[in-house]
Symmetry: C2
Subunit: 547 residues, 2 copies
């Protein structure tokens, strides 16, 4: 690896730890827990890992002798800044317990466990990856660990390497699977612990005990940097409307956080669109009205933030997509037709209501809805260029209004989609510290014999020394949801709460931002400057904690 100057300088950063983790720790148990819903079903499915108490670690004076332990670690799913620091925290934690402890990394995700593809992570390797972005130390993957034969196949290598505990670094699905695995190994009395770590830039893995998922802070800051740059350009040139789509598969946390950091003219929040039962046309009119108002003030420029998952939150679009999935899965004729005929064929054969919406879509988007399908035959909503869809429909709406004499501006457009730009950035101080602490906490959970827990670090808007480290039973976060036609126990996804402080702050400000141009330019993440520049958590977290 050829290291950049920043990487070399940043390697020297020593991530901060909660005070409690700096010496020997003792476990303080809280009350027994319940799952967030469907308690009876979840308890029935997880008899060995249900109802355990929330725990926290406190400092203790007595030094404890720990035997050496071998631990395995897996990176699962999409990259998020700070994954390497979880691993280095875990490494330092188990080495502190006993210098002979070993850490094994499974290669390219959960598949590495099943396929026995691994490498030992030595101090030399770890040191090359401290405070860096990416998951490239061992790679990541999306193989789902959910079947007994996978668990048994994994056990072979676990036994061979003398592994006492697995740490699964992943999002809600991966942590659900970690819990299923913990339960299985516990039920079989295999003596293998499984600990989860909350990862995802999407910010949708959080709850009363998990303040935030790691990577959300850094990714949002990178997106806000470039959004801020675009806004400064936008205001200097006064020439374009920039439609900016932001990654975050389902929830709108990223779009909302970036809006709070940059104050764009428009930000769409999917959860609000769904709650208000808005149609696509409603969303288009909402944006077009702001464009028209600004044009009336002579401001023919602006910025619009769009969450990636929007389309699926528009009830009418959701219905259309569901009917298209169903219709096309059971149809043989469609594929034999030419393009124009396909369009007519769809319009004739789906329900009147959906046909009307389908016909109203720009042709390119309508095509995407019928053509790009995943292996299960479903529309790949993530491929839909929502930013272009919206800007085109807004342009059409404005032309209607122009014809009616209601609008007389210019509307030139630029489009952007940010996702891969931020998932592997070097972690901010917040994520560097938070991740290192999560990994270190995982080692303490392992040392204390815990399984089916997620590593938890709380109170993170305070200085790191005051952070509270502990563990939360994963079953506590679960409910039953329908997946591929079956009811399954899964970790409940945290969507944007419309009565939460971050959304309320946004909602109270957005009219001002829309008309008066209140752009903020956050600039790039700084690693070496004054603390008010380098050490701020997200606006979302600050507002959620009343700060």
């Amino acid at each position: 690896m050829i290291k950049s100057a920043l990487q070399i300088a940043r390697a020297a950063y020593q991530p901060k730890l909660p005070k409690a983790l700096k010496g020997s720790v003792k476990v303080v148990e809280g009350e027994k827990t319940q799952s967030v819903a469907d308690q009876k079903e979840i308890e029935g499915l997880f008899p060995n890992t249900y109802g355990m108490p929330v725990i926290k670690f406190e400092k203790t004076d007595g030094a404890v002798d720990f035997p050496a332990i071998n631990v395995g670690v897996i990176l699962s799913g999409g990259q998020a800044p700070g994954g390497h620091n979880v691993i280095s925290g875990l490494f330092d934690g188990i080495k502190k317990l006993n210098a002979d402890s070993k850490l094994y990394g499974f290669i390219l995700g959960p598949g590495g466990l099943v396929d026995h593809n691994y490498k030992e992570l030595t101090a030399e390797i770890i040191d090359d990856y401290r405070n860096t972005g990416g998951f490239d130390i061992i790679g990541s993957g999306r193989t789902k660990l959910e079947k007994v034969d996978q668990f048994e196949k994994g056990l072979e290598i676990i036994k061979k390497l003398g592994i006492k505990a697995l740490v699964m670094i992943g999002g809600d699905d991966s942590n659900t699977n970690a819990c299923v695995l913990a339960e299985y190994y516990a039920a079989k009395d295999y003596g293998v612990q499984v600990i989860g770590c909350p990862k995802t830039i999407d910010g949708d893995l959080k709850n009363s005990m998990i303040e935030t998922s790691f990577g959300f802070d850094t990714a949002c800051k990178v997106y806000s940097e470039v959004i801020g740059n675009i806004q400064r350009d936008c205001k200097s040139a006064q020439k374009y409307w920039h439609f900016i789509k932001l990654m975050g598969r389902s929830a709108s946390h990223i779009a909302l956080e970036c809006a709070l950091q940059t104050q764009p003219n428009v930000c769409i929040v999917s959860e609000e669109v769904e709650k208000k039962n808005m149609s696509l046309d409603d969303v288009v009119v909402y944006i077009a009205e702001i464009v028209a108002k600004r044009a009336a003030n002579g401001d023919n420029y602006g910025t619009v933030l769009i969450p990636e998952g929007l389309i699926e939150f528009i009830p009418a679009m959701k219905n259309l997509i569901a009917e298209l999935n169903d219709f096309l899965a059971h149809d043989d004729k469609f594929a034999t037709l030419d393009k124009d005929a396909q369009r007519d064929y769809v319009i004739k054969n789906i329900s009147k209501e959906n046909a009307k919406i389908y016909a109203s879509l720009p042709q390119g988007v309508a095509r995407q809805l019928t053509l790009d399908r995943d292996p299960h035959g479903n529309v790949q909503v993530s491929l839909i260029e929502t930013e272009k869809l919206l800007s085109e429909m807004v342009a059409n709406k404005l032309e209607e209004w122009r014809a009616e004499g209601k609008y007389n501006g210019k509307f030139s457009r630029q489009h952007h989609f940010f996702g891969y730009e931020g998932r592997c950035a070097a972690p901010s101080n917040y994520d560097a510290d938070y991740c290192y602490s999560l990994g270190y906490t995982a080692s303490a959970l392992i040392a204390n014999g815990k399984t089916g827990y997620m590593s938890s670090v709380r109170n993170t808007t305070a200085p790191a020394a005051e952070w509270i480290a502990g563990g939360v039973p994963i079953t506590m976060m679960m409910n039953m949801e329908r997946r591929h036609g079956e009811m399954k126990p899964v970790i409940q996804k945290a969507l944007v709460e419309l009565d939460g402080a971050p959304f309320k702050k946004f909602a109270a400000s957005r009219e001002d931002w829309a008309i008066n141009t209140q752009y903020i330019y956050p600039g790039p993440i700084q690693y070496f400057g004054p603390t008010e520049v380098c050490d701020q958590p997200t606006q979302t977290l600050l507002l959620e904690q009343g700060k």
Copy 2:
């Protein structure tokens, strides 16, 4: 303006100045100059501003009393990081000469001069913009100052405000116009000086006396930050080929500099494509061969950098576009046909050679070549999504090879275009210092009665104290070129030199980068850290100066 934490902290930065500018200066004149070509024509067109000597400033002990002067400043064309620092350097410079000097900014570009749209830039305003990105202090615009009635209209407001000199901050065209204006005012003996400043992120305004245009450093660093992040993601997921188009209208300096900073698997350099007379298919085969070689090693991922101007450097595409422009300008039938018929119509009616190329293009691109036309009827090449064009053609090529048994990999693609993300970033230390020095130097040129000069700061890979400040006659950079059918005097654009050190370094490394994955992750611009992180000039400049 609501200031971000970084903006507030960064406002305190005091840009560095060449030693010579810290006290009173004296002018040291060099030899008389010649234009780079077409000396006779240029001299004939610029009798009053031709042949002046290059000058440099040296420190002198004698304090000089200057009368107060009023100066006007104009931002012209696309934004580039550091424009605000040119203005603050100019402001500080004329205030140092005499505290009663005044600076007027013309609003939204050269049009502000013609329309008498201006504001006085007071210390309070200037202080709000020091070390910030953007041109929003007065805005920018693209009105071309080239006609006598514009010059005369501008003179009215110049006289009214008692302005002694205008500073034009712009790219090659704007500086050409600045020189025409300087010549006109000199010929008329109006007593108004005109000074240019070399701005453009494209990096194509440079020559023996102008080391670099401002903004190139910062913009390339922002693009390299996100390219690095994408590469880290790419290597972690091992799943996608990322095709990344980079702004830079014509020359490939930005793509080349970003390649030197990040070491992607592929970087296309337009100037090389032209020199080697490569066809579009040659470029596609070049990329596809690297994809196939990597796939043979199990590496089904990678990164490709593409300069925005590529299409126009492919001789065959250039011919096709020229014929299409000509054909469609004199054709009435095309617009009346439906889409499929249009395609056939074009193929039937243009030359055989061009028809073959046209037919080989993906349909969407072929359509763009005939549909999106500027007000002059020309194809808008900048709208062509070259990154998607190339990735689609590479995909097709690989499928051919797969059918022949020559390729057996996966080829999933992602596309990016970076431009607006970097033009208004807060200037790096290099650009902050360089721009401030350029502005300050402009004040010294004004004080010494110069006109038709471009502000020049050289030796910028050395510490700022050793930088050499002076002025270069703009006529020295000129030659005659055909523009819209007429021969015009223009500043010669600096393309990437294939025998220059930056390209040679790239060419010597690219095979290794292609196959062995040597990504560098530069990370975001740092403003407060160690000097090796914060104060490095571009690789291009370091290599050009043998460092």
